[in-house]
């Protein structure tokens, strides 16, 4: 039997990775740097950006505000997905937060500093209560109801003319300045990304993750999973209702567009493209797709078609998403090694 020599790619974990994915064995400063440098770049970049107003111009500052808004919605989606719930209507959370803040500001003349936190918490509560009945069910029900809710909210506001009807509510109090707005939303986004990441490393987060894997065994471990899912929905709703409340004051307007499909499909596409299950992925996805969508502004609703197609390509063809791919590349060597092939082998 004559041996032929073939080549194959071999993947090796870098030395700093030990045993499981989240335990690192660090021994030198270089390795520490290797671990934290990507985070430092992201945080520093985002914190410095608002200072560069003169270079970037108001337009791109606004783009970053919207990007962070979508990133927050995508983070919210990703948290829900981590518990096994697929939301097809992130716009519900966004719209509820937006309308509550608008209502509080217009009816009671409260400043944004008060209305935004109130709308965030109350909005999340309202959404959790709305969705609670579906949490008992497995499978597609959550997706169906989240899809239906924003459309029906739009319809109710249209027909009953409550909350400003089709006109919406305008002239709401503004945030002090664009730089402050930027700092607020960037900080919140970073807190959410790292906070969620940390949350899922705790034992509590482990239970949430386990519900997606096998809800039956979680019940058999003595957990009331409806209650846990409700908590997850509440936590997930917070960044999304905040995003709605924040953008309402940013635009000084709230109307039916707060429930528009854009706020459902863009976060969904961001999270899927970035890689579901890794909160950094959701953020990465938003920072890729939203600026892209600004560049394509002239295309009108064709943009939604494009997101849908991107979404489809990723969910069908590249379900892993970009972030886990990049992360793997970052933490692994690849090298070509030779191997002996037996006769008749491939």
């Amino acid at each position: 039997m004559s041996a032929k020599v073939g080549y194959r790619k071999e993947r090796l974990d870098r030395g700093i990775k030990a045993r499981t994915d989240d335990i690192f064995a660090i021994s030198t400063y270089r390795e520490i740097l290797y671990l934290i440098l990507p985070r430092v770049f992201v945080i520093a970049g985002l914190l410095i950006f608002p200072l560069l107003g003169d270079f970037t111009g108001v337009y791109w500052q606004n783009v970053i505000v919207i990007t962070c808004t979508i990133a927050l919605l995508a983070l919210s989606w990703d948290l829900l997905h981590s518990v096994g719930l697929v939301s097809l209507g992130q716009a519900v959370f966004f719209g509820v937060g937006a309308y509550i803040t608008g209502f509080l500001a217009q009816q009671f003349g409260l400043p944004p500093l008060v209305t935004i936190p109130l709308a965030t918490v109350f909005g999340a509560l309202v959404c959790t209560m709305l969705l609670y009945p579906v949490l008992r069910l497995r499978g597609v029900y959550f997706g169906l109801i989240t899809f239906a809710l924003p459309l029906l909210f739009m319809r109710i506001i249209e027909t009953t003319k409550v909350l400003g009807g089709t006109e919406g509510m305008s002239g709401l109090p503004a945030l002090p300045s664009i730089a402050i707005s930027l700092y607020i939303i960037i900080t919140i986004t970073l807190v959410c990304v790292f906070g969620f990441q940390r949350l899922f490393e705790t034992d509590y987060g482990l239970v949430l993750k386990a519900i997606k894997d096998n809800d039956r065994s979680v019940i058999a471990a003595g957990f009331n999973i409806s209650w846990f899912k409700a908590q997850a929905v509440f936590i997930a709703a917070l960044p999304a209702t905040f995003a709605g409340a924040f953008l309402t004051h940013h635009y000084q307007f709230v109307g039916i567009p707060a429930f528009a499909t854009d706020y459902s499909i863009l976060p969904l596409a961001s999270a899927i493209v970035g890689g579901p299950g890794s909160f950094f992925g959701a953020m990465l996805g938003a920072f890729l797709l939203v600026p892209l969508s600004e560049l394509l502004r002239d295309l009108g609703t064709l943009r939604i078609v494009i997101y849908s197609v991107i979404l489809l390509i990723f969910v069908v063809g590249l379900p892993e998403g970009l972030y886990p791919y990049l992360r793997r590349k970052y933490f692994q060597f690849e090298r070509v090694v030779s191997m002996e092939l037996e006769e008749g082998g491939k």
């Binding site: 993750k209 096998n214 065994s217 019940i219 003595g222």
Partner: protein, 254 residues
């Protein structure tokens, strides 16, 4: 040791669209006893377990646990009262490392209450439990995602999950199914030890020889009805039991 009744099942029935999966089953179990539930395939063994643990609501009948009526209890509440069960089709949390699979029950309300506030190191407790059921301590297996576990280990993990809840009553639904002879042989002494330590056990099993080594008495089901109850040696002599197992040999040498 006090011999109070820990579990009593009274006339328990369940209909699935006209089919009587379990009908009028009654039995009692004293603390520290080990009960085997046997019967041919599809005789309602698993349904019975699901009825006791609250995963399915009974059509009629009652379940008493430590003197309390727990008929149709929410399954997570049954766990918190101290009833732990394994599943016939054991599925681990695939994407979670093996030892972290046990963090979930160790984090459960019951265990947190029993331990009282601080637990200390759940990771360490999890590794200990894995060792107990036969995982090798220094291998890398406990740190890998549970999705990659071979079947025998999945079953061990399932057993460890039950034990981690510090249960008063352990219900094992076909723990041995799909395990090889040697795997069963290696886990049997552990079950015997559990019994000798005075744990209350219910085992649903097909492998009678192994079952009889652990249990004190058995209940035999056929077509959802209880057809016999008693000591293992007596039950296998029972004519009706023999008939129900027609074709599959009842091993009386056990």
């Amino acid at each position: 040791m006090s011999k109070e009744t820990i579990l009593e099942v009274r006339n328990l029935s369940k209909n699935f669209g006209g089919v009587k999966a379990v009908s009028e089953v009654s039995f009692q179990l004293k603390r520290g006893e080990a009960l085997g539930v046997m019967g041919p395939n599809g005789c309602g063994k698993s349904t019975l377990i699901n009825l006791i643990t609250g995963f399915i609501k009974p059509s009629s009948g009652q379940v008493f646990y430590q003197g309390k009526d727990i008929t149709g209890i929410a399954p997570h509440k049954a766990v918190n009262l101290g009833i732990a069960r394994s599943f016939q089709m054991a599925k681990p949390f695939y994407n979670i490392p093996v030892y972290k699979n046990l963090i979930i029950p160790l984090f459960s309300p019951r265990v947190r209450k029993l331990v009282g506030g601080k637990f200390g190191d759940r990771d360490e407790a999890a590794i200990h439990l894995l060792e107990d059921v036969g995982f090798e301590r220094d291998s890398s297996i406990p740190y890998k995602a549970a999705g990659s576990l071979p079947h025998g280990y999945v079953k061990r993990l399932e057993l460890a999950r039950c034990l981690s809840l510090e249960p008063d009553l352990i219900i094992l639904d076909e723990l041995f199914s799909g395990m090889s002879m040697s795997e069963v042989a290696s886990i049997l002494p552990f079950l015997e030890r559990l019994r000798d330590e005075g744990k209350t056990l219910i085992m649903v099993e097909h492998r009678l020889k192994e079952l009889f080594r652990v249990v004190d008495k058995v209940v035999v089901l056929n077509f959802g009805k209880k057809i016999a109850e008693g000591l293992p040696e007596e039950v296998v002599q029972n004519e009706e039991v023999r008939k129900s197992y027609l074709g599959s040999e009842v091993d009386s040498s056990a």
